[in-house]
């Protein structure tokens, strides 16, 4: 009951923040042939502040992708006419570098998936949680934006000194192991956004699989104890079944 509450809280506030942050309505292209999935995707991504165009097959996707400038596109791997990976390849051949998120019912033990991830694209296995989809789309959209070189990250009363590798909350130092600091840094960098477990594992440990055990939760749980215990408000939230989110009360 309590965990369900956290879940709701984080998801709700998440969406609101996108509007508060006023990042503008960025355009997405969704290439998906199943009408119901397509409708859910469009509906969800529109609610999350994107302007979404839909293409029902690979050829339509190719022509739409060539005629407009999109922030990110999501491509179903098994389209009725062209393989989703081939669609990406054609875009790249045409010099269109829009980051792509392949959505597939096939597993991810595949060298081509690694190739995708190495090439700046991403891969998501069906069925997926919408929050995870959004997190990955967000990550891809940010990849094209400029990265600001900060030396100090702040969220609420938490402060991370990226040079000294130290964390303080309300002026009091938090003792963190190096890896714990990396975890916290990644979460804080994505402040306000949901970070799926697999993305955390990918960025902090450079491992490309979705762990079937709850080990990441346990690990982040310890980081949270160090960061949030005996504080006025919690910063690290667990989004059940998906991952984590760092957020200060607004």
């Amino acid at each position: 009951m309590l965990r369900s509450h956290t879940f709701e809280c984080a998801l709700h506030i998440d969406w609101e923040r996108y509007e508060i942050m006023g990042e503008g309505r960025r355009r997405l292209l969704v290439i998906e042939d199943d009408p119901e999935t397509a409708e859910q995707l469009v509906d969800f991504l529109s609610t999350s502040g994107y302007q979404v165009d839909l293409a029902a097959d690979g050829n339509e996707g190719l022509s739409r992708g060539r005629s407009a400038d999109y922030a990110v596109m999501t491509i179903d791997r098994m389209l009725p006419d062209i393989d989703g990976l081939a669609v990406i390849r054609r875009f790249r051949d045409d010099g269109i570098v829009t980051p792509a998120l392949i959505i597939s019912a096939l597993g991810e033990i595949d060298d081509r998936v690694r190739g995708l991830r190495a090439g700046g694209d991403d891969y998501l296995v069906k069925p997926f949680a919408f929050a995870e989809l959004l997190a990955r789309v967000e990550a891809l959209a940010r990849r094209s934006a400029t990265v600001v070189k900060e030396t100090v990250l702040r969220v609420g009363d938490l402060e991370l000194d990226l040079v000294a590798r130290t964390a303080t909350r309300g002026g009091r130092k938090i003792e963190l192991l190096p890896r714990e600091f990396q975890v916290l840094e990644y979460l804080v960098r994505n402040d306000g956004r949901v970070v799926p477990r697999a993305m955390l594992l990918q960025h902090v440990w450079d491992l490309h699989f979705d762990p079937t055990t709850n080990i990441i939760d346990v690990y982040v749980g310890r980081v949270r104890r160090k960061v949030d215990s005996q504080q006025a408000y919690p910063l690290i939230h667990t989004i059940r079944g998906i991952g984590f989110c760092v957020r200060a009360p607004s």
């Binding site: 009951m1 965990r3 369900s4 879940f7 709701e8 597993g107 033990i109 595949d110 060298d111 690694r114 296995v125 069925p127 192991l177 890896r179 440990w205 491992l207 490309h208 699989f209 979705d210 762990p211 079937t212 055990t213 709850n214 080990i215 346990v218 690990y219 749980g221 310890r222 059940r240 079944g241």
Partner: protein, 460 residues
Amino acid sequence: MLLAKTLRSSTFKLALIWIGIFGALVLALLGYVYWSTAAYVREKADRAIAAEEMILRNVYDSAGRDGLIAAIKDRVAPGRSESGVYLLADPSFAPVAGNLEAWPAALKESGAWYDLGAREWKPDAADRPVLRATFDTLPDGYHLLVGKNADNLDAFTRKIEVALLLGVSLMFVLAGVASVSVTRRTVGRIEAINATSRSIMQSGLGKRIPLRGTRDEWDQLAENLNSMLDRVEALMAEVKQVSDNVAHDLRTPLTRMRGRLEKAYDRPHNSNYDHALIGDTMADLDAVLRMFSSLTRISQIETGDRTSAFRTVNLAEIASEVVELFDAAAEDKRVHLDAVVDRRVVVTGDRDLLFDAVANLVDNAIKYGGEAGRVTVEVARNDDGAVIAVADDGPGIPDDECQHVFKRFYRLERSRHTPGNGLGLSLVAAVARLHGARIEMVDNRPGLKCLLRFPSPAMS
């Protein structure tokens, strides 16, 4: 049935082709022998006739026609050579002396050689003998015929003919019989394999190809096919076991979810209650999906060829990272977790999969090793290659369970109430197999020690 198959078989057709080729060669060779023998014998006869003619011609030159007539008469007198044939005829071919009653009509050109059938020179005789003859016209216009009864010659060549024909036909018959019997044997063995395949298709994998105990190549083939069938049968049983388990492990959460939804459908809607219900249902669904991804992940590792993505990985580093990652989990259970590693132990492999495998072993050790226990991850290099060992000091597992724990969905009775789906060790086994590593489970006195032994790079 078997004969018809024998005649249709490709071995038999091939044998026929070779019999044809060898037969033609043998025929050509024997034909040449026959022809040259016959020519030699005939030439010898001709030389004898020519010599006789020369003698008579000398008689004529020295003693004149009368002397020649006397010499001919002397030669054809009873009791003399039976085979010589002589005839002196006047210019109009009327016989003057000799043992031929009339001048054969066929003889027209002097100096040429003739073969005359019996009727042409001995109308009263039967088919033989044949006459070999030549004639010369003397200076006074008389014609002198000298010949030889060629019956001997004919009989000789006929004997050769018969011998050759008999030999060749015997060869063909024997070759035919040999090829039929060899083909029949081959077809018989293949037919045994075919019959087994058919009965397997009809009634399942229980049948095996009978062995004849001859230890020949056919028995070896049958043995190999049989062991392949054993393997297929074992795999099928495993697949069946897995799908039974999937069905079982799916039914439980699905039943829970269905019941929950049904209850919510029937009762008046209440936001708080519905919220909890949806949350629980999503958690159950996530568990089901996790099980599915574990299963597909294992089967992808088992079937896919990922060795192309292999890099040099440091097992020591992986072990340290896993230990670090599980530090928090160990702390929660008051388990003392540490790593004893050589600085650098490299193997060729897939870092993600090796990490996942070691993580699963450590996860198990912490989960089942018992509260406040001790879990050690050791990485070492020895003569045989690299070894990674995960040891706990918990209750361990009975010896007879060791071989089963790597099966999909296999769970020890005492672990039924701990979270998990019984797929962790199957994944470890799949990853080990992919890397050519051997898994061992040994008694840690007390506890369980699970070892992954990697072959040394030189061997792999």
